[in-house]
Amino acid sequence: MADSAGAGRPLIAARMDHGHGTGPGTGAPVGSGGTDALGWAAVDGVLVLFLVVAAAGYAVALRASRVRSRWPVRRTVCWYAGLGCVAAALLGPVGQAARGGFTAHMTGHLLLGMIAPLLLVLAAPVTLVLRALPVRAARSLTRLLRRRAVRVITHPVVTAVLSAGGLWVLYTTALYPLMHGSPLVHALVHAHVLLAGYLFTAALVGPDPDPHRTSMAMRSVVLVAFIASHSVLAKWLFAHPPAGVGQADGQAGAQLMYYGGDAVDVLLIVLLFSRWYATTRPRARVPAGMRTGP
């Protein structure tokens, strides 16, 4: 990646160029290479383990619940496509380039923070687990999901602050350069992005049973505020790229964030309204259900 402004911050630029040239696992300055290389490899290992467990877990649950009614194929497809997006964002060529350049980093973040969570949420994993578990265990799980703590952590406002707020912290503080120097911070940031993205998407448009589902008005306002925050941050980054990112790279990455984010955001709006559309279906020609509106 061409990195004109990076010259002002030689340490970060050097690290990034290194990561870009030699691939993940070796993206460290030569001095402390041993431990850092080990760290990057450990991060990749944990990620692969997570992907394998998630892939196998869904398959096991599908098998355990095969006596029940048919499970929609599209949900299964969504789950594995979602895991594929996570893998593509963090491993392989995108994940490798993301440690070097901002535009590639943003491609990875769109995959990891927006597209993967949406696909994973649409795969309805909680519903599948409830179908697969024996009745007693399923009841315990439902009780757990009804807990107050779950209500707080899955509230649209909380998830939006975790998700959008996390991005502001990442790109406007020293966290961004820090993350490229430390495998642990890198892993934590990405885990946060995926998890916060999942909770946010699930709170707004999740097909899973949600005992704490908030009103359409609440979800609408939160979604609009989230989209606004996303687009403001993208324009802010266009003018003020994160530390260590060159102007051209920063502007290309910011526009990718804006337009790529928009595409997913519009999809979220459509999903939000399609749920409203399904639940307000008129049952008769009398005014039943006419009062409800977004």
Binding site: I227, S231, K235, R285, P287, P294
Partner: protein
Amino acid sequence: MSIAPTGGGREAVTDAANGVAAHVGRRTVASGFLFGCGIAASMIDLFVFHLGLQWHHFYDLSTPEVALAADGVFHAVGWFITVWGLFLLADVRRRGDVAWRRWTGAVVTGVGAFQLFDGVINHKVLGIHQIRYHVDLLPYDAAWIGTAALLLLVGIIILWRTRPARAAR
């Protein structure tokens, strides 16, 4: 309106049907207005001025921070009400026939209303961006605000001419 009284004999049924008709009628106008405002905010600007004429750029780097935040909110609301308007239209459609002329009038009103708002508030008051750069703005502003007022007027006339007959009650 599309949903006519079914029985004719029972008053309760007629009242209910009238209530539904009035509701569907309001929803038709709301759908068109939201969709009109929405496409004026989200699509016309993107496709005509950014991609077509290329008079606008992604961000002119001269916007004050308050206006940048306002712009983000308009952007989000623009997409939201576009989709909202279309879903309301789908809802009207599944409850009966759509009064397309009335809906179109509401769309034109919406486009005009948003464009007027954009021309006066966004361009002149907040200074989020201008229509075109490095030119004398007066003819551009006059054309933008003038067509906005014209669209608004045409839309309101269509809405007036397609208003539901009072005699039905």
